[in-house]
């Protein structure tokens, strides 16, 4: 049943997500009414086997971290269909280091995805012109008033900022931000390894870590694998 469902899911990928009718300014309720009707008519009702399986369980291949930015939903840019990806979305697609007191939200998602769902891949996707990264790179040097919650959150990326300034501080601010958008993805991948169950799964090759970068200015997508090597034990 699972194999059949995956085949149906593959067929779904060939269909358009939704009729892309962005030109018309719609009432918000009308937007979601029509959106749900489209989904039900064109996806749900046409793929009863898949959705019947999904009603009982999910077996996503990916845990995805993506930015909350309205322009970068992975379901659009990577055409994830229902069931494909367990997805966390937050400001600047950040994964904080292990800290049960401060970062229980992200930790809960990682814990559930790895321990309960046993996803085999984690993909962290950064993107161009990220407001969160821009805030990280500019505040407090620009003297602007603090955004209490945003500033507290984006400072997770401070090691990435420091690295970028050290290496690319001579470049224009926008270019530094672009570097930081990518460096922050690598930092998040590194922070993932501070979760014991992630590190264990990676070491036993049950889990792969991948980075991605969506540039919506020039329409490109980069992806790379985050390889980890652990110290060998020295002989006695």
């Amino acid at each position: 049943m699972a194999k059949q469902s995956l085949e149906v899911a593959a067929e779904l990928q060939g269909t358009d997500l939704v009729g892309f009718d962005h030109h018309v300014q719609k009432d918000p309720v009308q937007m979601i009414t029509e959106g749900f009707r489209y989904f039900k008519t064109n996806k749900f009702d046409k793929n009863p086997e898949l959705f019947n399986c999904l009603a009982h369980d999910q077996w996503p291949q990916f845990l995805v971290f993506a930015c909350s930015d309205s322009r970068v939903c992975p379901s659009h840019i990577l055409n994830f269909q229902p069931g494909d990806a367990f997805m966390v979305r937050n400001i600047a697609n950040m994964v904080p280091p292990f800290d049960q007191l401060r970062y229980s939200g992200v930790g809960a998602a990682i814990e559930y995805a790895i321990k309960a769902l046993e996803v085999p891949n984690i993909l962290v996707i950064g993107h161009s012109r990220c407001g969160g990264i821009k805030r990280l790179m500019s505040h407090p040097e620009d003297g602007s008033a603090p955004y209490d919650f945003i500033d507290e959150w984006v400072k997770i990326g401070k090691p990435a900022k420091a690295k970028v300034i050290a290496k690319f501080g001579h470049l224009p601010f926008e270019t530094q931000c672009e570097h930081c958008e990518k460096e922050s993805v690598d930092l998040s991948l590194m922070n993932l390894l501070s979760y014991p169950y992630v590190q264990k799964a990676v070491a036993s090759k049950r889990l792969r870590l991948m980075g991605g970068y969506y540039n919506f200015v020039n329409g490109t997508f980069e992806r790379w694998e985050f390889e980890c090597h652990f110290s060998p034990h020295l002989p006695a």
Binding site: V29, P82, M87, V88, S104, A108, E227
Partner: protein, 306 residues
Amino acid sequence: MATPSPTTFSQPFNFFKDVRRTTLKTSTIFGPKLKSGEIEHTHLRLLTFFKTGPRLELKASKEPPGLTQQLDNSRLESLAETENVCDFFEDLKHRFLRFKKRKFKENLEHFQNLAQGQAPKFMIIACADSRVCPSNILGFQPGEAFVVRNIANLVPTFESGPSETNAALEFAVNALKVENILVIGHSRCGGIRALMSMQDEEDSSSFIRSWVVVGNNARLITKSAASNLSFDQQCRHCEKESVYHSLSNLLTYPWIEEKVARGELFVHGGYYDFVECTFEKWTMDYEGGNLQKNSRFAVKNQFYWC
């Protein structure tokens, strides 16, 4: 403190003998109690190096029908050690190129405008569950919805301090000035199930528990209102109760309540049932409600789509 020999550790990894003090700290990392801050330098020892694999950049040219890719052939061979890795990368490539062809290029002017800035009408708070992406079920297109996804679509209170969810709220409401916030719950939610399974006395080091306790009031209300129902039915009740609870929590943010009171911001709840494929939606009636602690506010504009 005695320095243990490396052989006493049961972790699956090996460490250099000369960093025993560091490895002592790492034993607490794998245990149930992690001390914050210990990670910083220890994991740099654990991980002697990491590298990012070669980056493949996928571009779409304006030449139909094939889309060009820039590949470094010499690095391509080192890219994938196993066929599985190749398959996943190939999969991602095809997914992106499909989007590029069917959406991006077909609506180039719109995407160029979006590249300059976003002005979404909605902020959505939805669950991370793979089956409930708002872009799929409600058809949000690029640029339409600023989305937060977490376990069980929970919204912590203002008083609970900074978190990823309220950082996103601050950005959406104060920077992007969205007009609507929609919190969407769903059927068979694992996070709500974990919340309902919590015992009051339980002392757990689980992240899930630390997070879902945000919805504890919803659990208590459900237990008192629906104790005669089966556990599954109680969970379903809590899935909706939790949405009401999250909407109330939204109003603990002064800058949200101000805008709701002025009619500049509307707060909605939603519930997606993926078993029956139905969607319920309601709007908080701020003026009609007489907000009291732990009680529901009034709602209006309720819809049920099936």
